[in-house]
Structure formats: structure tokens, C-alpha cells
Symmetry: C2
Subunit: 531 residues, 2 copies
């Protein structure tokens, strides 16, 4: 390989031009690092772990200096960012410090290793993930499967439901935080309103009026830690009111279904067709409440059509039914007009839940919930007992971004990027998954592909799914083994149907989308050997 | 009054020297504002409400300019901060904008008024509060009483459990947030680890080792939204394991008791004496789990003594008992040596819960929980189902403050201030509450006073508590009527005992403490007319 020589050349050049203090006598040799052992896509994790080991066992004693990041990057033949990020993790853990001209110095040994828990993602190394991919998907619809998949390392993440995270408006967030910290009276740092900061409730009410046609008073808005918490609180209140069965779209989000079931609710699958939820089947189910994603059904992308909407509202009125509207990605649409929220049509029968997870970032854990008046106080009480209310500073920062117009600007910006990525995925599917049918690509952050031809079972012998009837889990496991994370459609389905995949396209650049779909295509072809 | 003249003089001086654009033709007259109508201590709220009304009914149309804050402050004879803060609230609600040389301009009308909910603190005006004080305390130990009291407006807040909020390290927080935003990879904004960010779990493990003698692996730490959430999650997990009765200190925190009871747990009161929880009574109760505040019992301030600690650990070992250690303010101590956490002695039988509510600010809603290994996975699953994990940015900022030493510096700083305030409260009690006995003042953020002489019922005729047997609620209601918020001791007690008050001294300056205790003394004297 010529690369080795290039690196040598570059290295001596940099060594000559480097004005930093005398070279540090540490490097990949000294630490006996072999990047070949790092699982693909997990080099930062791997490097940070090796450095932690070296600090723990005394090879890098407190006071010693780490190699300059560019030196170590060259020796390991990795991007410099891999090294700086590994250093950053150690810095955040308080084990190393300083990044100036004196370099990075070991300042503390890590705590002695204790019991390893299954939930520590730091332990889920790539190698373990490769071996665990089968088990992960075998878990299928078991509790926590979605979360376990989220934690599994990968090179390219095509999981649905994640927006363009690189576009997160860091500067605007920090500016707004400065403004908030500059004006908050001291009493603001005390125990606040469990229903949510009045500033954010007002901003959300105005946001929903502008963007979703919902007329709500700030006093009706309940600030929650995302739609996940909204469902948990609602489920508990409904259960206390004797509603122990909630109708659920099939296919529909596995995570949301598990959320309700964890709370003791029985979910009743009701089929979805090209018009959306089958209201006749809902009526027949006898359920008194139904969870829906009417604006962009998850995962099919179907829009609840006009006739169904009228039928659904009739059902609610006639059967004293409650509609739970999960408006999870309604702000993202590309080729069609906006669909009004059900809440805007029948407030007294519709609970409305939304969040910033798809608008800004899931890591913020902020959402909102509107419920009919007769449930309002019970849900606020449930929120108060859950956590005394959301953290205040992020609420005020978000209110600032909403009222200043920053959030709207951000949304316009990412919508263009998302559309381009959606188009890139459609092209890649055309190239690499020629037999696939695409569903629900006119809006949202994901699309769904299904395969009309049954999979060849033999292709997934290694993954142990040949007999499950849900061969797409085998395809997803094979893809994860190759570093690409996707959701098998069967995860989000109760009754069998054609195999498929749910593919998020918003999070990463077009090049990753192209490469990820190519990996899927290769995995699929391996499962269908040409004869 | 001479004040009027002073203001006139000052005003003309400022008008002459003012280089701002031509005076705005709006003022308190135009808006028909009469500060005499503002309830004491609620002037900001009141002013903001009046301005909102004026914007809503068109007296201040969109595009009009508000009076300069100093002009309006003079006209109303209030501190300028009252006006700027009222403007700030309208700015945060997106109704006014700009604060430069062009002044503050109305940019949007508020949404049309909708149904008013009981939980909207914006609606709880001072006048309403005065009338509501009786009802509030009449609620006694009913669900939400503590929260309702928290939301009630007042002039001086002597509620327990709130640290010095004016000392919140805003600059350090913002610096840390900038560092976090500058180094977080885009994937960090996605769905994270429901158990908590590894960086914070590591920082908490090190913090607990340094400050509480607890040896914990980061993999054992579960990040939660405060001790309130910790109790909710634990209660649910224990209930699922057949533990439906939890022993509870009497007296003990009403809020914590309500938290458990809301989750379906039966709380079993066990008496506290000068040595702490009566372990013999715990044993006799048959409860298999017990919630304790061993380092600084709430509300009595008693420290669980050595003999009781040994007896408690024996109970846990012999009865397969679980200890829930709420270490709520262990970092704050003044006149005594630190008490080791129970968790440091018997990790396999002790759940440990702590938070930043007393270290930094309750509004942050961040805490941590350690549980015995056999409960770990169930509690993490409960946390995942509750909200998918805490918001990431505040976790990383806090980790930054913990590992950089900023949090320790802050703690040293506020400890000095808290001690001075504690001393100020002791002096004020000596002056204004001569018959009171003081308990638990050697540590923490509050102390408790009890009164050996029974209250004269006649003094609280107006408050409707003469027949309750808990006359201290009457005293607390009378104090709130006079603008001073305190907790009646009886709220935190199941069995009757001497009347008393729980008084927080950490939140406000010495002058407020002195004034607040003087108000209590006056209320007490009114209840005991000299004969």
C-alpha cells in the first residue's frame, strides 16, 4: 500500500514544522495499539477504551502526556477526529485534561472496574455487536428491542425517526441559553410549574396554531419529556379510568406499543390500509381509545384520508371514544399539502402529542400534550408525580427559539436537506433494491420498502431466522453485521405481511445513504443466490 | 409623603439627560395602572398581566411602544426591576420585542383567553392567594398540597428544601454548555442511553466516592429526573415484586410520601426519635422496605445514630429488607462531621437516591439512583419506559461541572452563605419566636421549630383550623396571608405531636429571613392575645 509511505512523508514534514514542546515518548507502539482490532465504525469507542485500560493499569500513569492527536492518528492510520474525540471522552470523564500547547495530560485514573451491566453502551463493543446482532433481532418485539438496537454500534444508521442531527442549531441554542440565563430571576431556579413553564406553554400554543391549525390556550398545554412520556402518563390516567384496552395501528410503532403495554394497557391491533386506519375494524374491536399517527402513518407513511377522518370522528362521538393523535413528524412534508391535525377538528375527543424529537433532536426530551378538559387535571397530576415537571432551562431556551422564529428557520433549512436525502435514498433503492416497493415517501423522515418476492430462507441460515416467518429480521441482522442499522418492518407489525424494511433517510448525508442501501442490496443478493 | 417629590426631581433630571428618542406617549396613566391594586410581592406578575390585558384589548396595539422601564417604574413607584422583569416575561411570550434604543415594541397579541386551569400559576394572583391560603392549608396532607403551596405567590419564601438560588453559577453553566455544544458529535443529539449519559454516570460515581464514601461503578448509576422520579420508579418496581408497603419516617416528607402513595404503595409510618428511625418499630411494622433520610432526617434534622444504623442494617440482613436512602441534603453541614451514607456500608440492601436540587437548583431536575444489582435492570427499564432517559445537554453540562471542580467550588461557596443565613434565622427565632424549640440546625437547608405551649385556638378562628388539632396549619396560613410562606410541621406528620413549623433559611438573604420570622412572630402573638 502506498498509504504507508504517504503517512511517513507527512509525518516527517509535520515533525519538522511542529513548534510544540519536545515530542512525547508515547505512541501507538508504546501502548501496543492495533487498530485492526477495532470493530468497524467503533474506532473512537475502541480507542477510548484502550486508553482507559492503559491509564487504569499504569501504562499511562497520572501526570503522563498523551501523544499529540495528529501523531497518534497517523500511527493508527485513522482520521484525526477519531483520536480527538477519544481524548474528549476521557476529558469529559475527568481522566485527562488540557489541550493547549502542553498537550493532553492524564489527571486521574478511572474507577476500578465494577460489575458490568447490560445497559452500559460503553461495553457494547463492535465485536460484541456483531455477535449480538442475531440475538438483538431475535428479541423481535420483546421489550426494549428498539432501545437495544438504538444502543448497538454501527457505521451507518438508517433507523427511522431521527432528523438531521448535524444541522442542530448549536449557536442559536447557546445564544438563547445565554439570554435565558441572563434574565431568569433567582426564584426561577426553584421548583417550577409541573405542567411546564408558562413561557413554553405559550410558545407551544402559538406554534401549534401556526403550524398545525390547533387552537389551544397555554393553560391546556402540558409539557412532557417527549411523546414516550406522554403515552405513559395518558396510559396510566386511562387505566385509572377503566380504559385498559387501546386500539393500535397495525403496522404501527413497536416502541409506542411497548410503552403502553409496559404501563399495563392491552393494545388491540387494528389494520391499516391505503386509506389509513380501518375505522370499521376499530369499531368492531370494542376499544374505547385508539392511538393513531394520522398525518403520516408510522411506518407505512399513509395519510388518513377524508372519508376515514370523518368516520373516525363519528366513532369517537358515537362510542364515547378517545383518539390519541401522535403527530410525530407532521412538520416534515415534501410533495403534498399539510394535513390538519385531528385535534383541530374535535378537541374534546382528541389527545394530541408532539415533540421536538423530529423538529430538533431526540436528545432534548421535550414534548407537549393536549388532552380533553375532563382528563387535564389527572394528567398534570400524573406528570407532577412522575418528575415534578420538565427541567426549566431547556424549556425556556426552546420557548425562545420558538418565539424568535429560529425554530421555523431551522425547520425550513432541514426540510430542504431532508428532501434531498429522501431523493438520494429513492435513487439508491432504485439502483440496489430493484425489487422493492416504496411506501410513504411524500413526507416524514423515513420510508418503508416491502418485497413482493418471498425471501430465500437459505440466505439467512446464519442468523437463525429461517423459520420465523419474519425473514426481514434476518436481512436487518445481516445488514447490522455489515455495519448498517435498519428496522425490520415485521418489528412494527402484529399480523404477518410481506417482508420489508423501515429506512430513515434524514440523519445522514447522501453518501452514507447510498452506501447503506448498497449494503442492504448486497445482503439481499447473498440471500438469493443466482442459480 | 416626600417620596413623590423625590421622584419628580429625579424624573426631570433624567428626562433632561435622556438621549433616547422622543418620549413615548404611554405611561401608567394611559394604561390606567394603579399599583395599589397589586398584591404585595406579586407586582411583576400583576404588571405583566395588566400589560397583557392592554395588548389583548387593543389599548397597546401591535407596533406600539411600551414606556421606558425607568419612566414606568417611577410613575408606578416600583423598583425598575419590577418593570424590566414584566417586560421580559412579555418578551419571552413573544408579545413584545427589542430593548435597544428604539425601546420595547408590541409585536403580537396574546392568544384569546381560554379555559383557566387550576394549575396555571400565572392565574394565581396574590389576591386569589390571600383568599386561597386557607383552602391551601386546609388541603393538609391531600395530594398536591406541597405543589400547590409551591405555586402560591408570596413575598418571602421560607419553604424548606431550596438552596441559595441567587448563587446559581450561571456563568460556569454557560461556559460548560458552550464546551459541551462545541464537542458533542451529531449522533449525540439522537436517542441516548436511557440509563443516563456515560459521562455523567462516571462523574456521579466519582462525586459519590469523594463526597459520600460510596464506591459505585458508572454502570450502576441511573440518572433520573430528581429524587421524585427515583421514588416513582422504585415504587413501581417494588410493587411489581410484591412489595406494596414501604415504611416511612414519621415525621417525614409529605411530598415523598404522596409520591409513593400515588404509585399505589401503602406507606407505613414508623416513629422518629432523637436517635432517628425507631428500628424496633420498623421491625414490628412488618414492612419489607423503608424510606429514610439518615444523614439529616426530614424534617427533624436528627442524624441516625450509630446504634440505630447497626440495628437497621441487621434488620435489612435478617428480614431481607430494602433500605431506600434519600440523601437529600447531605452535602450541607456546618457544625458536625459528615455521616457516611448507608449505601457505603451495605450496597446490596440499600437503594441510594440523590440529586442536584439542593446542590445547584431544583429546576434542573437531575438526580441519580443506585439500586441493588437484582433490581438494576428493572429500574432501568422503568426509566426507559418513563421518558427514554433524561435530556442529554444538561447531563453533559453537569458532568462538566462535576469533573472540572466547579461544582465543588460552588458548594464551598454556598455553604458559607447558608451557614450565615442559618445563623440569621437562629437569631431571628430568638428574637421573634421566644417560646420556640429549634431542631436539626447543624446541617441542611432548613430547621424545624416546635412550640411546647399549645396554640390558642382563638387566634386562628378566621382560618378555619381551630378544630383540626393541627393548629400549625393555621399559623402557616396566617403567615401566607401576610406574604410569608412556610410549611406547617403537621403536614409532614401522620400522628399528632406538638405544633411546629419547618423553615427553610438557605434561599433568601438574611434581611428576608429576619423579616419573615418577624411576620411569624406577629402572627403567633395575634393568636395569643395578652390577657
Amino acid at each position: 500500500m502506498s498509504r504507508s509511505k504517504d503517512v511517513q512523508v507527512q509525518r516527517s514534514k509535520e515533525a519538522a514544522g511542529d513548534t510544540a514542546p519536545a515530542p512525547v515518548a508515547l505512541g501507538s507502539d508504546f501502548l501496543q495499539l492495533d487498530i485492526g482490532q477495532a470493530p468497524p465504525g467503533c474506532r473512537t469507542e475502541w480507542l477510548a477504551d484502550r486508553l482507559r485500560e492503559a491509564i487504569a493499569d499504569g501504562r499511562l500513569p497520572v501526570g503522563s502526556r498523551l501523544p499529540a492527536s495528529r501523531v497518534l492518528a497517523e500511527e493508527l492510520r485513522v482520521a484525526r477526529g477519531v483520536v480527538t474525540e477519544a481524548y474528549q471522552r476521557l476529558a469529559e470523564a475527568g481522566q485527562v485534561a488540557g489541550r493547549g500547547r502542553l498537550g493532553t495530560t492524564v489527571v486521574a485514573a478511572p474507577p476500578a472496574p465494577g460489575p458490568v451491566t447490560a445497559t452500559d453502551p460503553g461495553e457494547a463493543t463492535g465485536t460484541a455487536a456483531g455477535a449480538a446482532a442475531g440475538a438483538l433481532f431475535e428479541a423481535g418485539a420483546r421489550e426494549g428491542a428498539v432501545s437495544a438496537l438504538r444502543a448497538a454500534p454501527c457505521r451507518i444508521d438508517l433507523s427511522p425517526g431521527v432528523p438531521d442531527l448535524a444541522a442542530f442549531p448549536r449557536a442559536a441554542w447557546l445564544r438563547a441559553e445565554r439570554a435565558v440565563l441572563g434574565s431568569l430571576p433567582p426564584s426561577g431556579f426553584g421548583y417550577g410549574d409541573a405542567q411546564g413553564a408558562p413561557e413554553l406553554r405559550t410558545a407551544v400554543a402559538e406554534w401549534l396554531a401556526r403550524s398545525r391549525g390547533i387552537r389551544a390556550d397555554p393553560g391546556e398545554v402540558i409539557v412532557v419529556a417527549g411523546v414516550a412520556q406522554a403515552l405513559g402518563l395518558l396510559g396510566a390516567v386511562l387505566l385509572a379510568n377503566g380504559v385498559d384496552r387501546i386500539a393500535f395501528e397495525d403496522p404501527g410503532s413497536l416502541g409506542a406499543r411497548q410503552q403502553l403495554e409496559y404501563g399495563g394497557i392491552t393494545t388491540v391491533p387494528v389494520p391499516v390500509d391505503e386509506g389509513g386506519l380501518r375505522v370499521d375494524a376499530l369499531r368492531a374491536s370494542g376499544a374505547k381509545a385508539a392511538l393513531l399517527t394520522p398525518a403520516h402513518q408510522f411506518p407505512t407513511g399513509v395519510v388518513l384520508d377524508g372519508e376515514r377522518r370523518r368516520a373516525l370522528l363519528r366513532w369517537a362521538a358515537e362510542e364515547d371514544g378517545l383518539i390519541i393523535e401522535d403527530d410525530y413528524d407532521a412538520e416534515h412534508r415534501y410533495d403534498r399539502t399539510p394535513v390538519p391535525a385531528l385535534r383541530s377538528l374535535l378537541a374534546e375527543r382528541v389527545c394530541y402529542a408532539g415533540s421536538v424529537s423530529k423538529l430538533l433532536a431526540p436528545a432534548l426530551r421535550v414534548g407537549w400534550l393536549l388532552v380533553p378538559p375532563h382528563h387535564h387535571e389527572a394528567v398534570v397530576t400524573a406528570k407532577r408525580n412522575a418528575d415534578l415537571g420538565n427541567a426549566l432551562l431547556p424549556q425556556l431556551v426552546l420557548a425562545h427559539l420558538m418565539t424568535s422564529g429560529e425554530l421555523e428557520r431551522h425547520l425550513r433549512f432541514v426540510r430542504r436537506r431532508h428532501r434531498a436525502r429522501r431523493d438520494a435514498m429513492l435513487r439508491a433503492i432504485g439502483t440496489h433494491l430493484p425489487g422493492a416497493r416504496v411506501h410513504g415517501a411524500a413526507a416524514g423522515l423515513h420510508l418503508t420498502v416491502t418485497f413482493d418476492t418471498p425471501f430465500e430462507d437459505t440466505g439467512f441460515e446464519d442468523t437463525g431466522f429461517e423459520d420465523t416467518g419474519f425473514a426481514d429480521t434476518g436481512l436487518a441482522a445481516a445488514a447490522l453485521d455489515a455495519g448498517v442499522k435498519v428496522h425490520p418492518l415485521s418489528w412494527h407489525r402484529v399480523r404477518p405481511g410481506p417482508p420489508g424494511l423501515v429506512l430513515g433517510y434524514a440523519a445522514g448525508p447522501a453518501s452514507e445513504i447510498e452506501e447503506g442501501v448498497a449494503v442492504l442490496g448486497a445482503a439481499l443478493r447473498r440471500s438469493r443466490p443466482t442459480r
